[in-house]
Symmetry: C2
Subunit: 206 residues, 2 copies
């Protein structure tokens, strides 16, 4: 398909697609004439992945490039490529002070007691620590033990979600994993916020 | 306290505090001498609020200003000020095409059937629509009915969370509400991602 058709298929403006091409987020199409190229389904899928990372995942350009590189490098096993994508989705931050040291201890203990197979250096540990540090800096306690009861259900849900990923096709697998992770997260956060507005109305709004 | 002590109390560099002051996110201290001012507990709380909105909430400067203005304007009832903060936490986006029209219908039906008191123009509706549109654009269905069973528990949790907000003190109430909303959200997303990495290891990692 031509660039204009790729735009229709993805819902992305031509200017955005050209930006993706320029930044190497989207591979060049097959040249068909001077200044004309042809694009395929792979381009549609890739454009969708980049868009989700950018808009829903709020990722920086450099991090999107890392994810895309992990998708393309077939020597990286799939599980490891998921890890790269997961790490890229956590905003970098200085997490070295005492408050973080304490938070990381709590996070590591939580991972251990739930027997989770999570890399020791997975960035998501820092993300959970961010939440603990923010709450504690406000003088509130956020005790991870409060999530102990709920965690087995969260794991069961994650296993079911991952079960929905196709058995083959690396690009499709990565796309399903990344878009699924982000979309569900946004959905769950939005549901929580709907409930919070309702709760605020009940307590303060009448 | 002096600027240097405010920096110690908040854990924020002096340069960051000066930036907050320059942008009007933090009120000026009481002048004590030429080029010297004194700050109080109110400044500590405000700096903490701004930091949480910026770092955890990923908010733009203009949106943080809207939240801060709603905190300060005591003629805005508390529940409405929460609404301003909630709206500011949803990234603006063009949500006008057919895919969004269908998604908004699903969101509105969900809100109605769960009898949620949520403003018709609350931005969080668009956030939930974002998740639906992203999933559907990838060819997957995300049916909100899948969340029907879980929603009463989410509402009960939100009511309990809001119950933890102090009965008085507008600044403290807003701070507790905003930091609580964002921190819990980050924590819950992080727990989900821990579970997903574990699930990926089970399915693809061995």
């Amino acid at each position: 398909m031509r660039m204009s058709e790729l735009s229709t298929a993805t819902g992305l403006p031509v200017a955005t697609l050209k930006y993706y091409l320029r930044e190497g987020l989207l591979n060049a199409g097959t040249a068909t004439a001077v200044n004309q190229a042809s694009y395929g389904d792979g381009h549609v899928r890739r454009a969708r992945l980049v868009r989700a990372l950018m808009e829903l995942g709020n990722l920086q350009l450099a991090d999107i490039k890392r994810v895309v590189a992990a998708v393309d490098d077939e020597s990286v096993p799939l599980h490891d490529a998921f890890g790269v994508a997961q790490d890229a989705m956590v905003p970098p931050r200085d997490r070295s002070d005492d408050a973080y040291r304490r938070a990381f201890e709590d996070v590591d203990a939580f991972v251990t007691r739930h027997k989770l197979r999570v890399r020791p250096d997975a960035q998501v540990r820092g993300m959970l620590a961010d939440a603990l540090v923010a709450m504690r800096s406000g003088g509130w306690e956020l005790d991870l033990a409060a999530f102990d009861e709920r965690m087995p259900a969260v794991v069961a849900q994650a296993v079911a979600e991952l079960g929905g990923i196709p058995a083959e096709g690396r690009e499709a697998q990565m796309e399903a994993s990344v878009i699924g992770t982000i979309s569900y997260e946004v959905a769950i956060s939005a549901l929580r916020r709907l409930a919070l507005e309702h709760a605020s109305w009940r307590r303060f709004g009448r």
